[in-house]
Amino acid sequence: MSTIETSTVTGLDTVSYPRAARSRRWLLPAGRVAVPVVALLLWLVLAPLTELVPAPIPTVKEAWDGFATGWIYPGIQATASAVFTGFALGTAFAFPAGYLLGRSRYLNRVFEPLITGTFAIPRIIVYPILLTLFGVGFQAETGMVAISAFFPIVMSTAAAVRQASRTLLKLGRSLNASRAQIAMKIVIPEVAPGIMVGIRIGFSISFIAAIIAEFFAAKEGLGLMISRAHAGLDLPRMYAIVLLVMIAAFGGNMILWWAERRLRRS
């Protein structure tokens, strides 16, 4: 996920828009907005064909009720706190570890095979271990989120830091800069976009990890609410939560993506 991911996302900025699109700048945002609009229309048209999918209007109404009557707040609160705590915890370990791995060739040679080697292990299978350790609840879920966020952030950070320019590192040393100064004033600002890639993917994975963990075992949370609504055949409620989860995931991604592109531009 490290280098490939970075190059993938680097590519995002090298889009060569066709000439027509460049002269009519509104086309691209319009196109982007059209995607969910078309999806909504499709939903509207296709929903009546099956009983398994509720129509958009009752779904949106149910979501609205969720906020109006407040039934959704405990779920949002539980999932959000697990995602943010776990993500912060994972980042707090992953970021310094990734930095060290990126800076030290020796540490990299020791640990890199361990990290890439275990990359294909589905993290979710350690959830039962966390459950036996902490019991069902906030701690186990937060731990799951932290572990899920850890790996992509370590790998992307190490890959980004490894890209730091040798000349700038030389400059730092020739100015007698301390290790902390080299980190804070040279390397991190230089490779910030690459680091942001890891943060964004770490966030994405945190989010989905929390939902999946809640599907498996939880006391509270949106994932649990979805599976309960499913079991109780309360389709509008189920889809209302799904809709909210998707909007939240998309929103979080877009904020981080925007930050990443801003960093890249400067």
């Binding site: 490939i4 993938t8 889009v15 890439t116 275990t118 271990i129």
Partner: protein, 259 residues
């Protein structure tokens, strides 16, 4: 100050040795903690017990069935996701505007809980591996599509020009010029796609299925057979590591051959 000529480094500090020592140390600490009563056997049995169970499990019939089910699901999920991903990647490259429009959505698909479509898929395809396979394939297609698009965009514009100047047919242009130029960057996407197919399949089995390696892990947790649960986690980890090593080897071979 950097040293220019190395002193060779002591043998004991060689990275592979240090790595092996670290892993062994962790296992030893866990073993000691479990045997010494620091960790209750209901929380974690000693690693030696896990390994013993692992060996028994691997020889048993249900394990082989689970492995086959999971393997088949992964393979089809990858086949489907890889194919669709390639097509999307090519499409987004051929029509850059569509690429620009859909990119943000494709990128955020990493965090989309596609699992929520399970009920629909269940109704359409019935119980079995198909719904899981489809969810896993949507995860696999993301990196394939993104990498393919980037790979194709990275082709230097002189290559298509060259093809045109040689009067290549459309098919020849694709087969003899564009595809070989893009392959070294498409392959990592496929590798990543495969890994995502593995992760997606096992994660879905874990929460939804009634067969497969992922399911079995959750099953043993629920039935409080903790040693077996750990053994299954180990098995999955080992299988995943083997798959990963194999893919890395394959990727390096391809990249070397392409140069």
């Amino acid at each position: 100050m950097n040293r220019t000529s190395s002193g060779g480094g002591t043998l004991l500090l060689r990275p592979p040795l240090v790595r092996a020592a670290l892993v062994l140390a962790v296992v030893a600490v866990l073993e000691a903690a479990a045997r010494g009563g620091l960790v209750e056997p209901l929380v974690m049995p000693p690693p030696s017990v896990m390994f013993a169970r692992l060996v028994e499990i691997v020889r048993s019939g249900p394990f082989v069935t689970d492995l086959v089910v999971t393997g088949a699901t992964v393979a089809t999920a990858f086949g489907l996701g890889g194919l669709v991903g390639l097509m999307i990647g090519i499409l987004f490259w051929r029509f850059p505007f569509s690429g620009a429009v859909f990119e943000p959505y494709l990128v955020s698909m990493y965090s989309m809980p596609t699992i929520v479509f399970y009920p629909i898929l269940l109704a359409v395809f019935g119980l079995g591996t198909k719904p899981i396979m489809i969810i896993a394939s949507t995860m696999a297609l993301i990196p394939v599509a993104l990498n393919t698009m980037v790979a194709l965009r990275a082709i230097p514009p002189t290559l298509p020009k060259l093809a045109r100047s040689l009067n290549c047919t459309r098919l020849q242009t694709y087969r003899k010029v564009l595809a070989p130029a893009a392959v070294p960057m498409v392959v990592p996407g496929l590798v990543l796609g495969f890994i995502y197919a593995v992760i997606g399949t096992i994660a879905m089995e874990f929460i939804l299925a009634s067969r497969g390696l992922g399911y079995r892990t959750g099953f043993f947790y629920r039935s409080f057979e903790i040693a077996d649960m750990y053994a299954y986690i180990l098995v999955i980890s080992i299988v995943a590591i083997i798959v990963n090593v194999g893919l890395n080897y394959f990727e390096r071979r391809i990249r070397r051959d392409m140069q």
